[in-house]
Symmetry: C2
């Protein structure tokens, strides 16, 4: 008998653990391929510690090829799925090659995506903390804010740079806030010009309580602790919009900030919405044995799946549930291959843990409720034990132990501001670039209206499709006139260094960028 | 008496060590500012180990604020220097604020830059290994090449992805090659589809020997060792050009490759060339007491300086010499402030070490010459001892010890291909995008001519200022027709994900990018 071809889409908790167990159960009887856009598995509960700078980004993740030695790992992006043929179109490589993969059993473990499109400016300006790389970028950004606040003379800019907003106060939001608070507390000793009282931390939550995953008592403990550490809570408040320098709540109040972290907005993959399958609350409806309704050979698990439990409620979208589903899914695929009947999913909660940073946590394990240092110790040990490879466990443990004794590392490895293209939203009246500034690049207007303000009150106007900021770069000088948004507006910014090189080639009289231009980043 | 204002430009070996000693010598008597574009000190000899993935990028560098607690550290970029007024114009912050800093004593420690402008395509396509971030990017790129080679069906592309070229075979070039070879050797066990013999390593050196810093005997040992490990040497050969998929030697021969590492091209900062001071061989001519010729209060040291020695030759451009100069410079500034005469510089060589990767090295220490494992052990211990902070020492030592026992980490944290804008050079005839590929983005032609090839042999032509690749993105489909360079040509590529968002706003009928688009990277 030919080996069964099993194709697993997604290398998170659901996909990676299913692949590992399938490989153990089936050995040579299966030809297993796992597709993910990255070549590593992220242990999600550690992501806040990456953002805080406790755990090194490379240490916190496990190479999928190391974790799954007998599984074929491919990096690529799913573009289309044909459920009937169990065929997947994949985008791979630098130039976007399209490749078709076919399987006898297809496992959909693609999780959910973050969709902030409902809130103007949020997709342009909010950091997310799903991926390890996002968390690392957030850490670098926070240190960049401290660097910039320490040298600016403008009190408004300083206030914005030292204000940090986290949207959402579930597990992920609270853990990220705890780590940001700790990073600031320990990092600020290196910035003698910034007083501890100058930083402002705001947590916004639509519900009127935090940590709905835990009891009201534990949530109150967490709330009190974070408040004592200076975190402001805006409960019962939602997001209205975000912009380059501000965050707006749904009551219209504004917070000046350069750092917005979004832990909200989980949504189904657009790809899944277009498939001939039923979604329930944004998740793929599956039968209790984890097969997509009406399909014998298409499976789905983890955050992407709506898995019915005995009590009629769906399984929670947690790592814990995904790992339990992965185990069952592998057993069920093996059963089907053997002609045995598959079993239904039953969820056994092993508890919930939330770190608050600074060696404090809250925990519920069975009937036990813990808070403070004991909960934190439990949290550390439980997650260390759950890591998928002993090498990762060792590296993470070393990072965590070193962090107990060493000062926090405030190295900012990336230069985020000048290096890359970006999208920006401005509110009517916002100043985009002041006179005397070199500017960050060429701005291409996507929506709304910007205006360059002349001394006589007149000024030039830029609408969608127009661009500004190029003249200063071409002439290698600072801006003569401030530019501001006349209406709410969105623009695309091509970084100054990139445009310097383009202008040197295409614009008569443009000054060539110096060879040591910060922005020159060679790439293949 | 008011504290003397000392402004140090550059936080490399010269600047950081001078700042540290000045701070120790002068205490409250000096108000010391150090300006660098990054907030950390890079221990240059470890950079190849970052490229190889032995040492974690965050572990290998030391925060300047931690290293220099009593020095005011500022991040920013030098834009102009007024030597007479000892005034420096600095670019800082996201929007390019211009700030003037003034000092009583100005210390220029800006090192050199890499200028590859003489070789067409090299600034577009070569990696450098000066900065820690460059080395980290190179490591991620090499792993990306393995990922892509393991899934492509195209033998030409596979060969290019598995060929690695290092230009220059001095200390830095040889050490980087040693680490790349070791990274491949240990990383390939995770890529069962790639045979060890499929990788090709080529080292190109203009001189007819390697490691001119060491004796011919030690260089021969290194050459033999690297050759036995499969490195091809092209000695007595220089660079002619580079392109998106190829490297061209000065004899016209071509090497298909996606990875070119340049360890050549050191050049003076353009900024220094424009100042009223004398350059000698591209370095600032200084008097033996390390003052810029004709200036009483402007100092220069390290790679930026041409420091005359007793024997008439200049001090070597090494970390060792920079550290010795930093010590003398601090003593001399203190002497001048006290009205004492400054002392001349005398260089005492403490030896030269070159790692070859895989626990082998060559070393010269006084009259002692070592090779192999003992030299490697000496290399490791000597550099550990020289690290500027015991925290860095501890973190690096842990990384190095773990690497002896653990498999090499092959996590690829960045997705380099799709994420960012880039510049590309193509040779006449090179295919830029094939039909059936989604393409990497919109290409704006900067020089030369590209053509879209129609089935009937005709085709559309794109010259400087024209762009192509947008139609496929707007219509969310693969390219219908291949596009190739008709002449040697250079283009700027705006990444597909960025253009999807731009087109959705500005182009009628354009398809909005999916919310989970890989390329959507929020930033502030």
């Amino acid at each position: 008998m030919a080996a069964a071809r099993i194709l697993i889409l997604g290398g998170g908790f659901g996909g990676a653990f299913a692949a590992r167990r399938l490989s153990a159960l089936l050995g040579e009887r299966a030809d297993i391929t796992l597709l993910d856009r990255k070549n590593y598995f992220v242990f999600q509960p550690l992501v806040p510690e990456i953002a805080g700078g406790i755990v090194n980004v490379l240490d916190a993740v496990t190479p999928l090829r190391h974790m799954l030695p007998r599984v074929r790992v491919r990096t690529g992006l799913v573009r289309a799925i044909d459920l009937d043929a169990r065929r997947v179109q994949v985008v791979q490589g630098e130039m976007g090659d399209l490749v078709d993969l076919e399987a006898d059993h297809l496992v959909i473990a693609l999780g959910q995506v973050v969709d902030l499109g409902r809130f103007p400016g949020m997709s342009e300006h909010a950091f997310t903390v799903k991926a390890a790389a996002d968390a690392f970028a957030l850490r670098n950004h926070i240190i960049d804010c401290l660097e910039r606040a320490s040298i600016t003379d403008d009190p408004d800019e300083r206030r914005g740079l030292l204000t940090f907003v986290v949207v959402g106060a579930g597990l992920s939001g609270v853990e990220v806030m705890g780590e940001i608070q700790e990073l600031l507390r320990r990092g600020l000793r290196y910035y003698p010009g910034i007083a501890a009282g100058e930083t402002r931390l705001v947590q916004v939550e639509f519900q009127d309580r935090i940590l709905p995953e835990l009891s009201a008592e534990l949530a109150d403990y967490a709330l009190g602790l974070l408040r004592r550490r200076g975190v402001e809570f805006r409960l019962g408040r939602g997001v209205r919009s975000a912009a380059a320098g501000a965050f707006e709540l749904d009551d219209g109040s504004l917070i000046d900030t350069r750092t917005i972290v979004a832990t909200i907005g989980n949504a189904p993959l657009p790809l899944l919405r277009d498939l001939p399958l039923r979604l329930e609350r944004g998740r793929v409806a599956v039968t209790p044995d984890l097969r997509v309704e009406g399909r014998a050979d298409v499976w789905c698990l983890g955050d992407a799946a709506h898995v019915p439990l005995d009590d009629g409620r769906p399984a929670p979208p947690t790592a814990q549930a995904a790992v339990q589903q992965a185990r069952l899914l592998a057993d069920n695929v093996a059963a089907v291959l053997d002609g045995r009947p598959p079993a239904p999913f039953a969820f056994r909660s092993r508890g919930t843990l939330a770190s608050l940073g600074g060696r404090r946590a809250v925990a519920r394990v069975g009937r036990l409720r813990l808070s403070g240092f004991p909960a934190w110790l439990l949290w550390r040990l439980a997650y260390l034990a759950m890591l998928p490879a002993w090498i990762t466990r060792l590296r993470v443990a070393i990072d965590q132990v070193l962090d107990l004794f060493l000062p926090r590392n405030i190295v900012q490895t990336a230069e985020p501001a000048l290096a890359a293209t970006r999208f920006q939203r401005h509110r009517a009246g916002d100043v985009v670039v002041r006179s005397g500034q070199l500017g960050d690049g060429v701005h291409l207007v996507l929506s709304g209206v910007y205006e360059a303000m002349a001394a006589d009150g007149g000024g030039r106007v830029y609408g969608p499709g127009d661009h500004f900021g190029d003249d200063a770069i071409v002439e290698h000088r600072a801006h003569h006139r401030p530019i501001r948004a006349r209406t709410d507006a969105v623009c695309f910014v091509l970084a100054r260094g990139d445009y310097e090189r383009i202008a040197a080639a295409l614009v008569d009289g443009a000054v060539a960028p110096p060879a040591d231009s910060d922005e020159a980043r060679p790439r293949l």
